[in-house]
């Protein structure tokens, strides 16, 4: 499902998906990104030290690092609060 996400939401999705180590192709497929945009986001996260490249057999995987918690934790806290502190839509 390709929907309108913010840059921060895409970063979080990539980091969340790469917890167990994923190939670049898996990342762009799962996060619905084209190769160029996917590359830019992954490069940024690598530069921040939130993603690391690891070797698994003959494959290069992207893996979320422990440092990523400094972005993921506030992100999750804020999004959960968005739901907690706003009026509820109920039929």
């Amino acid at each position: 499902m390709k929907l309108r996400r913010t840059q921060y939401e895409i970063f979080w999705e990539i980091l969340s998906f790469c917890r167990g180590g994923r190939s670049f192709t898996q990342v762009i497929n799962r996060c619905d990104l084209n190769s160029k945009i996917g590359q830019e986001h992954v490069e940024f996260l690598l530069s921040k030290g939130y993603l690391a490249k690891v070797e698994s057999g003959d494959r290069a995987l992207l893996k979320t690092t422990e440092k990523a918690a400094e972005f993921m934790q506030p992100f999750e806290r804020m999004y959960l609060e968005l739901f907690e502190n706003s009026p509820e839509f109920k039929l």
Partner: protein, 211 residues
């Protein structure tokens, strides 16, 4: 699972169900209105073709024209509803298959729901307007029919004529009620998107990101 997560997931589940029910209600209303307008259109086109010159002819033509217009609008309404239905269903399935109490699973569903609203906000607003317009048209047809009965008396089976007028009144009221529900939905999500934009400032600082 913490009590906080349990509360958040409870709200998330109720909201996803409510939105899903609203979209289903839209599809049902769109389908019924499409069928109703088709039946009206055909009935009045036939009446128009068969009518001898006279007042019946003046009566049939506008009803047929409005019914055909409503039919066209109902098709676009159904298509938009069906698109949103598919996306809402996907998110709902993810919610049902989530790991209960897991922050990441709940966050992922919130992110997708926000993205769905951002993507479909214009369509939802358009659907609300279409629904409002259809409601007015259906109530207009019902009033027109009542005026026709007052002027020319009941033509055809009274039970059929009565049922069709009642159907128009009921569906017109439903079509006017749906936009009200959409506006509550939009208010809720607009407020979340606004809060989300504020949260972005904090995330930007975390990332030291310069757009």
């Amino acid at each position: 699972m913490t009590r906080r997560m349990s509360n958040i997931e409870g709200r998330l589940g109720r909201e996803l169900w409510s939105f899903y029910a609203l979209v289903v209600m839209n599809i049902v209303a769109g389908g019924v209105i499409m069928g109703l307008s088709m039946s009206y259109g055909i009935q009045n086109v036939i009446a128009f073709v068969q009518a001898l010159p006279g007042l019946e002819l003046i009566y049939s033509l506008p009803v047929a024209a409005v019914a055909i217009a409503v039919f066209g609008v109902a098709i676009s309404w159904l298509v938009s509803s069906a698109e949103i239905f598919g996306e809402a269903q996907e998110i709902r399935e993810e919610f049902q298959g989530r790991e209960a109490g897991d922050r990441s699973s709940a966050t992922s569903i919130i992110v997708k729901t926000m993205a769905l609203y951002r993507e479909r906000k214009t369509t939802i607003q358009r659907m609300a307007w279409v629904s409002r317009l259809v409601g007015v048209l259906l109530l207009g047809i019902a009033a027109y029919n009542l005026a026709g009965i007052a002027l020319f008396g009941v033509w055809g089976e009274p039970i059929v004529v009565g049922t069709s007028i009642v159907m128009n009144l009921v569906m017109g009221a439903v079509a006017l009620y749906i936009p009200h529900l959409f506006s509550i939905f939009s208010r809720t999500w607009d407020s979340r998107l606004a809060q989300g934009e504020k949260a972005e400032g904090e995330l930007r600082r975390v990332l030291e990101w310069k757009a």
